[in-house]
Amino acid sequence: MATEILMPALSPTMEEGTLAKWLKKEGDAVKSGDIIAEIETDKATMEFEAVDEGILGKILIEEGTQGVAVNTPIAVLVEEGESADDVKTETAEKAPAQVASPSTKEGPDDKGQPGKSAVEAVKTPEPDRSPDYPEGTKMKTMTVREALREAMAEEMERDETVFLMGEEVGEYQGAYKISQGLLDKFGPRRVVDTPISEIGFAGIGTGAALAGLRPIVEFMTFNFAMQAIDHIINSAAKTLYMSGGQMGCPIVFRGPNGAAARVGAQHSQDYAAWYAAIPGLKVVMPYTAADAKGLMKTAIRDANPVIFLENEILYGRSFEVPDLPDFTIPFGKAAIARKGSDVTIVSFGIGMAHALEAASKLAEDGIEAEVIDLRTLRPIDYGTVIESVKKTNRCITVEEGFPVGAIGNHLSAYIMENAFDYLDAPVINCTGKDVPMPYAANLEKHALITAAEVVEAARKVTYR
């Protein structure tokens, strides 16, 4: 059966090319793999191999012809005893027209997520304002460090597939003592000391999660996770999507994030906005010990990769934690840390310390700030933010990270799109300064966000 040989696409971007040279002439026998022509693409001159066997019956496009569109018949291949006129035209073998689908039904995972389309109205969901634990629950005082440890220990008790791996998590008892005692309790099978190989153990942890285990991978600090970020994003976050839903990756990447004290530029960076930008990840950044515990337990049980951003300075701070046998906090639920009516301050992680300190100072002057702790940055509880802004008509955001591409930038845009008419002042983003972290004590202090700056921003938006 005579078949047409079509102008091939020989690169991802090629739409047309030049038929530079025929290497076979009419009447020549052609075997699969024979080079029949040279074709110039947008990138290079390529040899064009025959796929089928036969005789080159007729050349339809002369050599030297430029601008030959992909899929144009360039020759006819015939079998012995056939004529080129017997060609079976098969030009219909093109990709089908774009499937028309007017439906833009919301998927289950994009509640309140922006960016579905630039013009499509995003409906902010109603916030969940239920309490995290019943009123009257007995409380105990514990540090963030103890809360994290207790959460991991409880989940390791509960689920045999949960294990902890990282540098110094076992025999050393944790570089920051988060995993203290866990090796004794669970043994070396489940508390795994690794060599200093961030990309290696992040990849091994991700592979173990793809196989169905629930690893907790500790980075001594998130600064070192930059060596491993390919596995966090390309291997862990994207695989569920790329596999059409087959390969889940239930893993927690955790460790201290942001500036500690006097450790210089390479050890002092807040990665909140980096990870929050990635679909497929969930991102948690708690402030209190109760949130650290409840959110860590949720993170370990989640079927997706979770980035859990802790803070070295907060590890030793004490908070009240509900004394419950199984205390969890759902993702995507902000906390209103302080009620107020004059200005909304949105923060998370250690930024909350500055936000709350500023709110106390503002209260002395009669300005009542409502302070919202986002707690999770992906998903973000837009509902609680919008509801508060509609009440106070003013908003400032507070975070330690760099000012360009900050979480606050994103919230400002979201508020502008969804509560523009309610704003009585521009949203101000209080962030770390746009400089690498300096070592000198005085410079470091100025590089970081301070409560005084938050107070100043609040006065500016309240015109007081």
Binding site: P12, G33, D110, I204, G207, H231, N234, L240, Q246
Partner: protein, 344 residues
């Protein structure tokens, strides 16, 4: 460079006719499938990157002959052959190449990103060498769960120069992980020959620094690959840790579809095809050993051609994914079927 192979034409006495026929069939399926994929790419039905496995068929077919149910495999972006060899359907692979609903990833992964939990195929990875620690992680899970499964972790001579390979070697040996590292040395990392990228005399030999045994294998000889694979798998299943196979092979086509392959001569490629073709080798063994007649092989060729043509038809007719699919599979609500936790 590959050691001089023994003449592949003398079929060893311990290989049955059925085995030889299976290897021939499996290799031929990969070859014809890849030729068809190249053709569909030329027609604009497959987009983006498309890396063909033609010439390397004996590597994956020889190693799959050593696998048992439960063993896992993971590889790079040159992955079509691995999927066919572990029993994934030609239709689903081809339809993923054309970006259709009937593809293994519902059209959302493409040539480099396909998976099958059922066949324990963990991708399909587009970042050179990323699959190496991931593969060790799969093996970590099996060791953790206490079974005797082995993971085949395939990567190329190019990936062998990535740092994460050596972090992985170190931990895999430290923890005795049951992983066979298969270096498919096709002698070119895109356009850079091994000689131009390292002074190491062998790639498997680098494992010695970490205490990992290994060897070089003639990757154009499916029986040699199988024999070395059996040894490697036995080592891993016995709990002795990882093993490295450097399989000397050759890719006939360019690195990807848009590679004009000017870094090697046409003669070099032709010589490999004429003298060392892995499929021709087995074909001759079948004929000279009187295991199969020309007519039987012709019938087999036709059967393969039909499977491949059917997959191409399916891949053209399967609809593009519904637009709703844009928004699905970003987050899992629950663990997928077959995960360790659900089975626990």
């Amino acid at each position: 460079m590959a050691r001089k192979p023994s003449s592949a034409k003398d079929a060893p006495a311990n290989v049955s006719k059925d085995e030889l026929l299976k290897y021939y069939r499996d290799m031929l399926l990969i070859r014809r499938f890849e030729e068809k994929a190249g053709q569909l790419y030329g027609m604009g039905l497959i987009g983006g990157f498309c890396h063909l496995y033609i010439g390397q068929e004996a590597v994956v077919v020889g190693l799959e002959a050593c696998a048992k149910e439960g063993d896992k495999r993971i590889t790079s972006y040159r992955d079509h052959g691995h999927m066919l060899a572990c029993g994934m359907e030609a239709r689903g692979v081809m339809a993923e190449l054309t970006g259709r609903e009937g593809g293994y990833s519902k059209g959302k992964g493409g040539s480099m990103h396909m998976f099958s939990r059922e066949k324990h195929f963990y991708g399909g990875h587009g970042i050179v060498a990323a699959q190496v620690p991931l593969g060790a992680g799969l093996a970590f899970a099996d060791k953790y769960l206490g079974n005797d499964n082995v993971t085949f972790t395939y990567f190329g001579d190019g990936a062998a120069n990535q740092g994460q390979v050596y972090e992985t070697y170190n931990m895999a040996e430290l923890w005795d992980l049951p992983v066979v590292f298969v270096i498919e040395n096709n002698q070119y990392a895109m356009g850079t020959s091994v000689k131009r990228s390292t002074k190491s005399v062998s790639l498997f030999g680098r494992g010695e620094a970490f205490g990992i045994p290994g060897e070089q294998v003639d990757g154009m000889d499916v029986l040699a690959v199988k024999a070395a694979g059996e040894k490697a798998v036995a080592h891993c299943r016995a709990g002795k840790g990882p093993y490295i196979l450097e399989v000397m092979t050759y890719r006939y086509r360019g690195h990807s579809m848009s590679d004009p392959a000017k870094y090697r001569t046409r003669d070099e490629v032709q010589k490999m095809r004429d003298e060392r073709d892995p499929i021709e080798n087995v074909r001759e063994m079948l004929l000279t050993g009187n295991h199969a007649s020309e007519d039987e092989l012709k019938a087999l060729d036709k059967e393969i051609k039909d499977i491949v043509n059917d997959s191409a038809e399916f891949a053209k007719e399967s609809p593009e994914p519904a637009l709703e699919e844009l928004w699905t599979d970003i987050y899992a609500e629950n663990l997928p079927q077959g995960s360790a936790t659900e089975n626990a």
